[in-house]
Symmetry: C2
Subunit: 352 residues, 2 copies
């Protein structure tokens, strides 16, 4: 009888009540690697809130622990971590993987490209997600928007830029594709590790640098030694990304897949919105503490040269054809249409 009871209990547990394999006793455990140092405001805080939300939504059935750069020691190793499955997820920025696959470049931000709301619209409704799938699917990864840092400032400058000649005598720290554009118009582009930037600027090793925006710039202190803060041209809405290993994702029960995707989308929205808030708060603080900081915009001559250089570099990429050309054409056509709308709505309103 005892045996029968055990059998019955086991039958109940395994079939008739049909408790799922992922019961509260045995949560599924995932690891997420992020590019950011532990506790980096907004970015790393955002991923931790995301993990907390997944836990809440799944009632503890999916637990995601986060390793920051301090732990895994490879801030630019996130793509490989997720590809190999060493980490089920990552949080980073797509353009860091340009060296592995040039087509990843387009999913962060592009000089003279889309602003935040325009980029989200392209991604979710204008074909962006499908193109990202074509790029990342080859590596067994799906990438999702992971927030947007907003319109990045053009950088901190120790001297004013009044002509193209001034650019040609400029030593600037500006990484990535925007750095290529700047180099093409004649600037000396250097790369200096973040920890050495302040000293380099102070000692005139460089004349200027691009960092992020007020939310991140305030703690770096550049405003104390470089009085000109230039407006944006190069990163008009810098998208972050979540990456998920496809094999791990496919092994999740359907509702946990849905929970993961929804929590990533919420996180993308929260990080973007919080960036707007923090930029606003920090710009206020910078202005109060350093009222002599001047907001500057490159003169038309410089802007035109940067646009031309950017178009040439894009044309070189487009000439490669294939998926690269497909992405460039999709973004160009979407930008044309959506900017027509932005121009008669937010732009016209802000100019009134």
């Amino acid at each position: 009888m005892k045996k029968k009871l055990v059998y019955l209990l086991s039958a109940i547990t395994l079939s008739s009540v049909s408790l799922p394999a992922f019961s509260a006793d045995a949560p599924i455990r995932w690891k997420l690697a992020e590019t950011w140092p532990k506790g980096l405001p907004i970015y790393s805080e955002g991923t931790h809130e995301f993990a907390e939300r997944v836990k809440e939504l799944s009632d503890g059935r999916l637990i995601i622990t986060i390793d920051s750069a301090n732990k895994h020691k490879a801030p630019l190793g996130i793509f490989d971590f997720v590809k190999s499955g060493q980490y089920e997820m990552g949080h980073s920025a797509s353009y860091y993987w340009k060296g592995k696959d040039v087509n990843t470049l387009f999913f962060t931000t592009m000089p003279f490209g889309m602003i935040t709301a325009e980029r989200f619209a392209w991604y979710y409704y204008g074909g962006g997600a499908e193109l990202a799938q074509k790029v990342y699917g080859q590596y067994g990864i799906t990438q999702y928007p992971g927030g947007n840092g907003g319109n990045q400032m053009g950088g901190w400058f120790k001297k004013e830029i009044n002509s193209l000649e001034d650019i040609k005598s400029l030593k600037m720290r500006i990484p990535g594709f925007a750095g290529e554009v700047m180099a093409k118009v004649g600037a000396t582009v250097v790369n200096i590790p973040p920890g050495e930037l302040y000293t380099a600027l102070e000692r005139n090793t460089i004349d200027s640098l691009e960092w992020v925006e007020p939310a991140m710039d305030l703690r770096m202190g550049f405003h104390k030694i470089a009085p000109y803060y230039y407006t944006s041209w190069h990163e008009p809405g810098s998208g972050l990304q979540y990456m998920v290993n496809d094999k791990a994702f496919n092994e999740l029960p359907k509702d946990l897949q849905s929970i993961l995707k929804t929590a990533m989308k919420e996180s993308a929205f929260e990080i973007s919105t919080r960036m707007t808030h923090e930029h606003s708060e920090n710009w206020e603080k910078i202005k109060q503490e350093y009222p002599n900081i001047e907001i500057k915009t490159f003169p038309p001559e410089v802007m035109d040269a940067l646009k031309a250089a950017n178009q040439e570099l894009i044309a070189d990429l487009e000439a490669q054809g294939g998926l690269t050309a497909e992405i460039i054409q999709s973004q160009r056509e979407y930008l044309r249409k959506v900017r027509n709308w932005t121009s008669i709505s937010d732009k016209a309103y802000l100019n009134n």
Copy 2:
């Protein structure tokens, strides 16, 4: 022994395995009433996607059915439906409840106020949610952002507005607080049901009307009979809302509460993003079909008069003190700071 077995089984079912009361066999069923007619693109589609997401995330444990205006026959009865608990949830816009409580006015959009990204930042990080709680909490309701329609166009006009005199001879359909502002500068403001608007404009019963934006305007056909499309001043980022009955919410298990809140946030993000996309697509279509439509902006004289009238009306409200003054002051101070940021970022970039 049989009795004991039954007892054991019952103990297992009720306590040791602790199957929750909301098992798949007995889902919790909620009803949502929306202001919109059935199938209204983006808005009603958005609420249906929201309900679908809640079902997915909860693995069928929370089922929300939606009644559109066609069914409940009270598009402006949503507040009362949710307050009484007749519906657990609603989707609408806060400024429709101004007649019940003037403080609800501020949670949609205000003339010369915040654009979409600024409003979300104020709501989530700048004190907006707490103020909404003070307003709606009195009625046993919590309100959440339910998407944003973006920067509304100033309307379709049959004749150009070149001076304040032109406004004074204008008959315009423009509802709500913006209508009060328009009336204060001398326009004849009339209210006409949506179904009669086209005919009224065609027959010169009115000279102009404010509707929404390209995504919604295209199907109304106003562009066929009024060639001037004016840019925005009056609704720079129209927020929609979800309302939830507090008592019903508090009876939900913790994880379903979390699922509901996250799904509403995702929906707010999706509806806003989709609006950007649809405006862009529809504006393109309007331009192609009717290339003679002209985008116009009121001359400075008119804009200044509208700003002054708006400030006077706001000052009257602020003089009431209490929560009304608190909300007005919170929005004014937040707008000042966040617009400083928008000006040096997106605005400067768009003007380059």
